[in-house]
């Protein structure tokens, strides 16, 4: 597997400084509080609005839709800084990461004109409707059904694990538009569903901590106009796969527990604990190695290359690393994990431990990824 080696330019480094200065200021103003796994658990529409004002939502998109036409490396840097600071970026996350690129690739001009500028302004949030109750890793076993009616489709069924759907305006929903045939991947389509439509019910799935990030979304005869079909009817599976690469190789598969690691190293420095720092350096070395790979994938993605296998690699190894951080840190420092603690370390440790089980499940379980990688490797 050969990926490009990306060295940041002076301009890119300056951009990083700009983002960092912004975050540093907002942090010290108390606009937000650093959290581990903030891209899932930090949902704050006001903060997203601030980000939009900086031009940092949809920053790689064409200017005619309000984007900044910046490089995906710039966006990579931006995302890294958000996560390193544990900033609350969950509200606009999916629209920025997935929906925008999806519409740019497969959407109609009308869809782009309608949605992208709103997303860019931080006024329109998206959720993703992919998994279904009981589907688990078998994503293709979609049962949610759209039936053709005059001027549109009537959708019945349910989606599950939809992150932050309770705050989202729309959902890109994978539905079955043709009956099940031998190939279960065919006959699927992507619809944009207005979550305020009649017949939509959103009900929380509480996380093990009691937090509300995930939702079940039920569709009871929900009407979706024709113009809300994304791309080609029946091509939904292939379109969805294309999204997965964006979803799997980003810094959010490496940095979810970074605020803890950072704080731990600062604490070890305060303690003048050389042994502890030496141990922690192994984690930093892993992080650095993963980051090289992840940036390499981002570069290939930008150039339109095929990254299914390396993206699966980044996700499977990166999320294992995210899980490892709290387990190593707790052995290096005498710290008691507590969600409501005043001390940052205790809080970050609790957040990391409690969110860790999800890392290797969401966005493709490690077990499924091993299969994808092995098949890719065997095919050469």
């Amino acid at each position: 597997m050969k990926l490009p080696t990306v060295q940041f330019t002076k301009e890119q480094e300056m951009f990083r400084e700009e983002v960092r200065a912004f975050l540093q200021e907002e942090l010290s103003k108390g606009t937000f509080q650093t959290k581990c796994d903030s891209w899932l658990s930090g949902c704050d529409a006001n903060f997203s609005k601030l980000v939009a004002e900086k031009g940092w939502i949809g920053m790689t998109w064409p200017k005619k839709y309000g984007g900044g036409e910046r490089s995906s490396i710039d966006r990579y840097i931006l995302t890294e800084e958000f996560l390193a600071f544990g900033a609350p970026v969950a509200a606009h996350w999916f629209a920025d990461r997935q929906t925008g690129p999806l519409l740019l690739r497969f959407g109609t001009e009308e869809q782009r004109n309608f949605f992208l500028p709103k997303i860019v302004k931080g006024e329109c949030f998206f959720a993703i409707g992919l998994s279904e109750p009981n589907s688990g890793s078998d994503l293709a076993s979609v049962k949610t059904k759209a039936e053709k009616v005059e001027g549109g489709w009537v959708v019945n069924g349910a989606k599950t694990w939809s992150s932050n759907a309770q705050h989202a305006h729309y959902m890109v929903t994978l539905v079955r538009t043709e009956p099940v045939s031998e190939k279960k991947h065919s006959g699927l389509s992507q619809l944009i569903i207005d979550l305020n439509s009649e017949g939509v019910t959103i009900s929380p799935i509480r996380y093990l901590t009691g937090e509300h990030h995930f939702n079940d979304v039920f569709f009871d005869n929900v009407f979706v106009p024709d113009e809300m079909v994304v791309g080609t009817l029946g091509n939904g599976w292939a379109q969805g796969l294309a999204e997965l690469a964006y979803e799997r190789s980003g810094p959010e598969r490496i940095l979810s527990t970074f605020p803890l690691l950072n704080e731990a190293i600062e604490e070890l420095k305060r303690q003048h604990n050389l042994e502890g720092l030496a141990e922690a350096s192994k984690l930093v070395a892993e992080l650095w190695s993963l980051r090289n790979l992840s940036i390499g994938v981002a570069k290939v993605l930008e150039e339109g290359g095929e990254v299914m296998v390396p993206a699966a690699l980044v996700k499977s190894i990166g999320t294992k690393f995210e899980q490892k951080v709290p387990e190593v840190v707790r052995l290096l420092l005498d710290v008691y994990p507590q969600l409501q603690a005043e001390q940052k370390m205790n809080r970050f440790l609790a957040e990391s431990i409690l969110h860790a089980p999800g890392f290797t499940i969401r966005g493709g379980t490690s077990e499924v990824l091993y299969g994808i990688i092995a098949k890719g490797v065997i095919a050469g």
Partner: protein
């Protein structure tokens, strides 16, 4: 081993099977607890297990008590049974009469100071303090250590919880009266450290028992790609891992208790504590991976066990404490590690 062990264990397991539903455990997150289960335990004199006869004990010994602790873990029982009964163990070891009213205990750090027969100082993460009447803890008076019994109505309290939503309160005293106190020798303290560590090991063993059971059950019921998931090699690997850790921790617990009963427990407490800390990580990881998305929901009860493992592994005398202790012991010994492992040591204490 007391002959009543199997009977007591059966009785309590039956009570818990009947009464400790998932919703009952959830109560803790709503800042309340099922007093009625406590009362049923009381009616059955289960709070009196291992209490000395002259103190109204209901029979049974430490081994019986420890097996009940395992059940507390196995059912995530949301009652302060371990805390109350262990507080009484401490009291009896200090020759203080055990308590009937709800009492908790905090030994492992921050001893309070006694000045002019009054106690001052602060304790972090005192289990169940908000619901308890009395607290058993350590305090120092002019360099000497005492086991003290304090009245919690004299305490200032800030409610906190561990990652399993169990009450772990911040408790502070300013010139509080001592209900009673007794000096404690270093040997006695080491013995109590051993006992409390075994108590934690037993709770954790129970939580591991259940995380394993739930995973086996889930892997039979859950289907993916058209067949039960236990048919997939990668799930089998998780099941094998879980079975291994369950067997190892159960054997560790039983061996430590057997040694304790023979009055020969020594490094084994440290070994079992270190092992169960590592097993907790392995078990939580594999159990959650088997359960996948459903297991991280609040609705599924797996988290009652994994969160307890994550909380308990960092409470009381932890692996951190015991591995330092072992390092110090070994440094002072000329016996090599094989001799250490294979030669029984008689407890120097008590």
């Amino acid at each position: 081993m007391s002959e009543m062990k199997d009977m007591i264990v059966d009785v309590v397991e039956k009570i818990f099977n009947d009464k400790v539903e998932k919703e009952t455990v959830d109560l803790l997150e709503e800042n309340t607890w099922p007093q009625h289960i406590w009362d049923i335990m009381f009616e059955n004199e289960l709070q009196q297990v291992a209490v000395r006869e002259e103190h109204g004990g209901a029979g049974g010994d430490y081994e019986d008590l420890f097996h009940l602790y395992r059940l507390m873990g196995k059912y995530a029982a949301p009652i302060p049974y371990v805390e109350h009964t262990f507080a009484n163990v401490v009291l009896e070891n200090a020759n203080i009469h055990p308590m009937k009213e709800l009492t908790t205990v905090h030994l492992h750090a921050n001893p309070l100071a006694i000045v002019n027969a009054k106690v001052s100082g602060a304790l972090h993460y005192v289990p169940w303090a908000r619901y308890a009447k009395k607290l058993v803890t350590l305090a120092t008076d002019q360099g000497k250590e005492f086991i003290v019994l304090l009245d919690l109505k004299d305490a200032q309290m800030k409610h906190e919880t561990n990652v399993a939503a169990e009450p772990r309160d911040h408790v502070s005293f300013t010139d509080a009266a001592v209900v009673t106190c007794q000096p404690i020798s270093q040997e006695q303290l080491v013995f109590l450290q051993n006992l409390q560590t075994i108590a934690t090991i037993c709770k954790m063993t129970g939580a591991i028992d259940r995380a394993f059971e739930l995973s086996v059950q889930f892997s039979k019921e859950r289907e993916q790609f058209g067949r039960p998931i236990h048919r997939f090699q990668l799930v089998q690997q998780h099941l094998a891992t879980l079975a291994g850790e369950q067997a190892l921790t159960a054997a560790a617990m039983e061996n430590v208790i057997a040694r304790l009963q023979q009055g020969e427990v020594h490094d084994e407490v440290a070994f079992a504590r270190l092992k169960i800390e590592d097993s907790s990580r392995i078990v939580a990881t594999s159990a959650h991976q088997v359960h996948a998305a459903l297991g991280v929901t609040h609705e599924h009860r797996l988290h009652h066990y994994t969160r307890r493992l994550w909380a308990w592994r960092d409470e009381d005398y932890t692996g951190r404490f015991w591995k330092k202790e072992l390092a110090n012991r070994w440094l002072q010994s000329s016996a090599n590690i094989w001799e250490q492992l294979t030669t029984k040591k008689h407890m120097e204490h008590i």
